[in-house]
């Protein structure tokens, strides 16, 4: 047993470092706040906020790939201090560049509402239409409790992919030779205690954007002029 002690010390030291640094990692994971426009129509709470920064420079370039770019924005109203959303809503947008007409075609769907087809002449315009929410309805106004404090949480996803596909890609990357490594002849099933390789991160979407609105109460929300657009 004595012969194992140096290795044990090394492992324990690394363990301590990683555990200690996980606190710092958590702090850096904080979801930022973003000032959000809030208004009440006669029937609904609507929000206005931009998620255009979901697109990076490369993503802008790829808008002209000729293939569809998908944007999913999910919105949740949550009572402060509660982990249960009061209401959720989403908007999905598909953008495709028409190589011959040289304009962007968009199809926008809010929830189960009808598809809305739009054209855009520039990438900026296409991104704004896909990723900026204007008077986006979140919840019936009647469901808001006077005196309660709320926040609206947002998540945008660029080109989301399915969970099954994600798992498959990860599996193939981590175990490139499935079927080759036969267990039971001296190998350990619980396997790779160390495996070193270039391990690119495959996300469940190409880019994600998450933030929350400022805290608000019902009495602080302005009434929208002219009601729902």
């Amino acid at each position: 047993m004595n012969a194992h002690r140096p290795a044990l010390r090394l492992d324990l030291a690394l363990l301590a470092i990683v555990v200690a640094s996980s606190g710092a990692a958590r702090a850096s994971d904080e979801v930022p706040r973003r000032t959000t426009g809030l208004a009440l129509t006669p029937a609904q709470l609507v929000v206005s906020v931009g998620l255009q920064d979901l697109f990076g420079p490369d993503d802008r370039e790829r808008l002209k790939s000729g293939f569809v770019t998908r944007v999913l924005v999910r919105v949740a109203l949550q009572e402060e201090g509660s982990s249960e959303p009061v209401a959720i809503a989403f908007q999905r947008t598909e953008i495709v560049y028409d190589l011959w007409d040289e304009r962007f075609r968009l199809r926008i769907t809010r929830g189960t509402g009808p598809d809305v087809h739009l054209d855009a002449r520039t990438p900026d315009e296409a991104i704004a239409r896909a990723a900026a929410l204007w008077d986006f309805p979140v919840v019936e106004a009647a469901r808001l409790r006077p005196g309660a404090a709320y926040v609206v949480a947002f998540r945008g996803d660029l080109n989301p992919i399915s969970e099954e596909m994600l798992a498959d890609v990860r599996r193939w990357l981590v175990q490139p030779a499935r079927g080759q490594r036969r267990v039971g002849t001296g190998d350990s099933f619980f396997g790779s205690f160390v495996s070193i390789f270039v391990n690119p991160r495959i996300e469940d979407s190409e880019r994600q954007l998450r933030f929350v609105s400022q805290r608000f109460e019902l009495r602080q929300v302005r009434t929208a002029k002219g009601g729902h657009p």
Binding site: K64, Q91, G179
Partner: protein, 528 residues
């Protein structure tokens, strides 16, 4: 990023829609119902964002959001129409960025070729991209189109960014009281010569053990595989050449718990041979393979062939290998079922691997035996993103298997040195935490283990370390051979050859690979 929910994206959509979309413009109540039909039944190929999302995470409580998102995941709607956008006819396909990987290999993965018609939102485009990524040869792969000769005609551009394909599969440095040092590595190139062939090798070498008659150990492996997409009839092919020249230690005196190398004698065994295999992925979850194995074995037994028992009597030592030259020849069938949500930090799903191996004179071997082994891992989600895993192993051997094909205590007990490339370098018995007869058991015909593991996410972020789980595992293992199943005298729990095993540590998924830092690693394998 949060992942790992049990419901599929389709189920979430159905749930969300069934919840009653209160407003026509896309407001859903938060309470989902499970059975309401969807008016927009999604296509199975439609991509979706499936990540569970804890929507209300604010700066104040972000610290507790690492993976408790599973509790309140917001439904993830799917994109339902794969026919949106213009229709193209592919006039040509151009591949860019592949300095090492053969263009033909990339074209074979596309599933599209000149003359095909595709739509801008065609699911085959995403599928092609992810097939390319899944090759493991590229950091990124992108598809786009440029105008062709006439309206509607396009040139399909495939742009790839290659990655390093050298993989260190395993490192073996370790030490024990019997062997001052053994070490080595197993390395592969997963894209050898740019042809998508996996070729690698491993070695382990040791200092001379301080066991009577022992020699320095040397183990070599050369392994290669051709993936199914390039193999004949869609079969994956694999070949492994092996060479092991080393010693195994057999007790000659002392109590079962005594690990003093001076109480052991060495059998020196040289094995040379290989395994040829074919495999096929049957479905997304199932994979099957068939392996033919042949080895030439030469064993030199020690002059001392009997053990002096603590009471002064002697008993013959069963070395479980034929003196001089012999052969091992077997046929093995393996079925692998894998539905884990992630191969490194799973939160749901299962993996079950079952192998049946048989050998004997009929296939040219000197040892007639059959071996069955089933190993299973099942994961279930717990609150706050935690995961509970159950790991089961059961195996049995009938007939005369050489010792290196028997179940070895170091491969079962996390707290002991396991074999490196099939060779053992330690004399440690099982820890015997339950005060049983387990210390007597090193190589046996029957083995079983049940482990329960609890994992807590401590790290989910972008950056160098993608994710990390703290985990604790505890389990029970048992080993036996024929005579142990019916011991003389009355039954007593202490006669059962069982022991506890456990581990505690961190499992890290990083940009440069996968690492486990744990107490058991330090005690047994010294993985760094």
């Amino acid at each position: 990023m949060h992942r790992g929910q049990a419901k599929t994206p389709r189920a979430w959509l159905v749930a969300a829609l069934g919840a009653g979309l209160a407003l026509g413009a896309g407001v859903a109540r938060a309470q989902p119902s499970s059975n309401a039909p969807s008016p927009n039944a999604p296509s199975s190929n439609a991509p979706s964002s499936n990540a569970p999302w804890r929507p209300g995470a604010t700066s104040d409580d972000a610290a507790k959001t690492v993976d408790d998102a599973e509790d309140v995941a917001v439904p993830a709607p799917e994109f339902v129409d794969p026919a949106f956008g213009p229709r193209y006819v592919i006039e040509d396909v151009v591949v860019r960025g592949n300095r090492k990987t053969k263009t033909a290999l990339i074209l074979a993965e596309l599933g599209m070729q000149a003359g095909d018609a595709i739509v801008a939102s065609d699911p085959r485009v995403d599928a092609a991209r992810f097939r390319l990524l899944a090759l493991g040869h590229f950091i990124d792969a992108r598809l786009s189109v440029e105008r062709g000769q006439r309206r509607g005609g396009v040139v399909l551009l495939v742009e790839v960014e290659e990655r390093g394909t050298l993989v260190i599969n395993e490192l073996y440095p370790s030490t024990s009281s019997a062997t001052a040092f053994w070490g080595g590595a197993d390395v592969s190139d997963t894209n050898f010569l740019g042809r998508g062939v996996n070729l690698g090798g491993g070695f382990v070498a040791s200092t001379k053990p301080i066991v009577f008659g022992a020699e320095k150990g040397l183990g070599l492996r050369l392994h290669g595989s051709i993936p199914e997409r390039q193999g004949p009839a869609g079969l994956g092919l694999s070949a492994t050449a092996l060479y092991d020249d080393g010693s195994e230690f057999f007790r000659t005196s002392g109590t079962d718990e005594d690990a003093d190398p001076g109480r052991f004698a060495a059998v020196n065994t040289r094995r040379a041979g290989g395994v040829l295999g074919v495999g096929r992925t049957l479905t997304r979850a199932w994979h099957a393979s068939l392996d033919l194995r042949g080895e030439s074995v030469r064993a030199r037994l020690p002059p001392q062939r009997a053990r002096t028992l603590p009471d002064g009597t002697t008993a013959p030592i069963d070395f479980d290998v034929r003196e001089g030259a012999s052969r091992v020849a077997t046929v093995a069938v393996t079925l692998d079922y894998d539905t884990r949500s992630d191969p490194v930090l799973p939160r749901a799903g299962a993996r079950v691997v079952g192998t049946l191996e048989a050998g004997g004179p009929l296939v040219g071997g000197s040892y007639g035996f059959g071996k069955a082994l089933v190993q299973a891992s099942l994961y279930t989600k717990m609150p706050r993103g935690h995961a509970l895993g159950f790991h089961l192993l059961g195996g049995a051997i009938v007939g005369e298997a050489p010792y290196f094909d028997q179940f070895f205590i170091g491969d079962l007990n996390l707290l002991l040195p396991r074999r490196a490339l099939g060779m053992n370098f330690a004399t440690l018995p099982s820890r015997n935490l339950l005060g049983t007869t387990i210390a007597r058991h090193r190589y046996d015909d029957y083995a079983a283990r049940a482990l329960v593991e609890y994992a807590i996410p401590v790290w989910r972020r972008r950056g160098f370390v993608y994710g990390g789980d703290a985990f604790a595992a505890v389990g029970l293992l048992g080993m036996a051979s024929g005579g142990d199943l019916d011991p003389p005298g009355p039954f007593a729990w202490s006669h059962l050859p069982v022991d506890l095993t456990a581990d505690l540590g961190l499992r890290l998924d990083t940009y440069v690979g996968i690492f486990t830092i744990s107490i058991a690693n330090a005690l047994s394998r010294s993985s760094f």
